[in-house]
């Protein structure tokens, strides 16, 4: 099998790189193990340098509408965090006071949406809150099994019964000018959040739940669909087992599912993520990159990996694959000619990109540009 470019890792940065390259006429493949950081995406980008038109276009062509409006977002714990860019159904506010009176709606028996924390947080900002629970017979089937009341399962049901939810909220609504709902809408049917907003005579805000993130999974589905529509080959549930490198050039990789085949390409992109995604692996002695054996910037003394205070910045999160200025990955001190490292496998090494998601997108685009000779 031969491609122009092969991308190892199917998360946000892998897909952005894949889409950009396909759009430019390349033939590419993405090798993905499955789950990725989009499954716990907050739906917002904390900061990006500018309202990059190129990013918004790339996403909107995939059906992921973003809006740029620097301000704050409401967190699931009822606090506010700065954010600049977000998915369309996730609101950004210039100030935390987004309403006078708020109705917070949860489902009876759902423990992954923190209505009491939300109410407390909003009241601290001077908003009056009322919390109500919907008792929906349609969710009863989920409740029969004690661990089924989770975001994705509920979202599947909501895709069918959202109109009924709108009706019930209209009955509950008194003089509130805003309604806060859990982000469990629009998993399969992407129009649902907008239609809910149209159906409720108050501002509707979707607040996060415990992972998995429904807007994150929807983003993943849409980006992947777009990539495949552009002709990309998304190899799902597969992983690279070997790489062939000669004279500073990556020639091919072999995967678990296609072990008889050499997957060849002129260019490779490593977008395997951080520790959670196993893009970086730590043992008691070192942090290493398992696919190509690249050079990783880390501290020798394990005592220096951690800050004993959990809430503080953790040094290990800054460890990552070393690259040259063009994002070409280093192996044994020298850049590999055709391998680019992007996203979280770089560690939190590029504060100029603002956030992990920002770093994922911007490094992916930068690598795609290099490959395309732009």
């Amino acid at each position: 099998m031969k491609f122009d470019s092969v991308i190892v890792g199917g998360g946000l940065s892998g897909m952005v790189a894949g889409i950009a390259l396909q759009k430019a006429g390349q033939s590419t493949a993405i090798i993905s193990t499955g789950q990725n950081a989009l499954h716990f995406f907050s739906g917002t980008f904390e900061s990006l340098l500018s309202p990059d038109k190129r990013i918004q276009t790339l996403f909107s062509e995939a059906g992921v509408r973003l809006h740029y409006s620097p301000g704050v977002r409401l967190t699931p714990m009822g606090t506010f965090r700065e954010a600049a860019l977000s998915l369309e159904d996730i609101d950004l506010f210039p100030t935390p006071q987004f309403a006078r009176k708020v109705l917070i709606v949860n489902f009876l028996g759902y423990h992954d949406f923190f209505s009491s924390f939300l109410a407390d947080g909003l009241e601290k900002q001077g908003m009056q809150c009322r919390v109500r629970f919907l008792n929906l017979p349609e969710l009863e089937k989920l409740e029969q099994s004690p661990s089924e009341m989770r975001s994705v399962q509920i979202a599947r049901t909501m895709d069918r019964i959202w109109e009924k939810v709108v009706q019930e909220i209209r009955v509950l609504l008194k003089d509130e000018d805003a309604v806060v709902l859990p982000q469990v809408f629009g998993l399969q049917d992407f129009s649902v959040p907008t239609r809910i907003r149209q159906g409720i005579p108050a501002r509707v805000i979707f607040a996060g739940t415990l992972p998995p993130s429904v807007p994150g999974i929807r983003t993943q589905i849409l980006l992947k669909r777009r990539y495949q529509l552009l002709g990309g080959s998304y190899l799902m549930g597969d992983e690279v087992t070997r790489a062939h490198i000669h004279d500073g050039v990556v020639h091919s990789v072999v995967t678990k599912n296609l072990e008889q085949h050499y997957i060849e390409a002129s260019h490779f992109i490593l977008a395997t993520g951080g520790y959670f995604s196993k893009g970086l692996v730590a043992n008691p002695f070192q942090v290493y990159e398992p696919v190509f054996g690249l050079d990783v910037d880390f501290k020798e003394d394990r005592n220096e990996w951690y800050n004993p205070a959990f809430a503080q910045d953790q040094p290990y999160m800054h460890f990552g694959v070393k690259t040259d200025a063009s994002l070409r990955a280093l192996k044994d001190g020298r850049p590999l000619e055709n391998l680019y490292a992007v996203g979280s496998v770089l560690g939190q090494t590029r504060p100029e990109f603002g956030s992990a998601a920002g770093q994922a997108i911007l490094t992916a685009l930068a690598a795609a540009d290099k490959i395309l000779g732009l």
């Binding site: 965090r81 409740e143 992972p211 959670f276 043992n283 951690y306 959990f310 953790q314 992990a356």
Partner: protein, 531 residues
Amino acid sequence: MNANEFDVIIIGGGITGAGTQRDCAMRGLRTLLIERSDIATGATGRNHGLLHSGARYAVNDPESAEECIRENRILRRIAAHCVDETDGLFITLPEDDLAYQQTFVDACRRADINAEIIDPDLARRMEPSVNPELIGAVKVPDGSVDPFRLCAANMLDAKLHGGQVRLHTEVTGFIREGNTIKGVHTHNHQTGEDADYYAPVTVNACGIWGHHMAEMAGVKVGMFPAKGALLIFAHRVNNVVINRCRKPSNADILVPGDTVCIIGTTSTRIPFEECDDVAVTPDEVTLLVTEGAKLAPSLSSTRILRAYAGVRPLVSADDDPSGRNISRGIVCLDHETRDGLKGFITITGGKLMTYRLMAEIATDMVCRKLAVDKACETAVVPLPGSEEGSYEEVAKKIWEAPTMAQKAAASRMGSRARRIRTGNKRDDALICECEEVSVGEINAAIDRMDVSTLTDLRRRTRVGMGTCQGEFCACRAAGLLAKAHGCIERERADLEDFLQERWKGNFPIGWGDTLREAEYTQWVYKHVLGL
């Protein structure tokens, strides 16, 4: 009589304090237990949870060995729901002296411990995880005991006998009249309230912190803080306790407990200032993993869940730098005869295994002082939850065809699991999926077991003790606690404390899956949840 007056005040909510309170309360005394933090936060909750047969001490400390085996038999009866009757092996490896085995077995028999030399092949069949290289094995009646459960059950029984408990309350000073202790000044860290309590006798049962408590009362008890580090592995690798058949040394006991197993320990003298915040060092981790793999080789590839350390309250006798040659013996001091200070006694030394005996000795002393003539019954009366046999029998008795979660609840609460609301979808919803803890069980703990924080809840229900180390169940449980206590702000801070507590046990072993989990948690809590 005044509501602030009691017959006896017990300082310390570890197993010694809880056991002493139970014994005193069963003998008809009006008791108050004061604990500055939560139950079982000191050495009680920071050891192997080994139900010693006494075999470990048989050669060097026959007195302790005899105490252990007597208490071992008693605990199997009175604390059935806290005990897992696993049996134990003492294995000889090629590098050990096989001749020691006979010395060991002889000493065990002298102490009335049923130690039986078995064929190494039988040992391998009994415990498939054991190092297959073993050249000798002795079977002994070891087991495991859940110290949190044991402590909570003792305290609960004390309360059922009219005892009162003040958790998160610190003794800030003693009320003295001449050379008599009349009571204590206290400060509640959660409500901020100060209160005085009075009793003719006060018992110092503070473990290693008893050193300072005695100082505050004006007497000296020379204690020896000996830190022991342990590791919890994410699977129950072994079903039988594995010990090394040699002189007691580092990391030579592997104990299965619930869903995990625990290797330990080390023994290092530490300064008193470090007792409040003992950290496990990378060197200790390396030693524990290396030595542990000699007992069960698969440990070297098993995920480590947590590292923790406890401080043994040994009473110092000489300058032994390791602390290992000091007797684990029980020390009960009557400060009236020893120091001329009336109304104050110290109970210390000993170990988790002999807590009941320590409590009996201390309570006998209290009763003598109060001229109360009532016999101790704690060796025969089962603890609440332990009246109806093993948890499997209990679960069947309560539910006929119990679910996994109901069985898990019965293993944690024994017959008191009957009080958990269950059988409907709202109460059966799982909060902690690793340990199968339901809404009903959490609410039962909040209602009846003095839970004020998530960490308290963890000690009583195992919420957050499993593989994910509280990733999501902490948030869910925080929601229930917030509802029960009606204070969101406090709960948010509590959640932060819980995460910090968790990280403290994770970073010393921060690599592999532990680091993956930590990165994920950092990300979720900081960026997604916005804590």
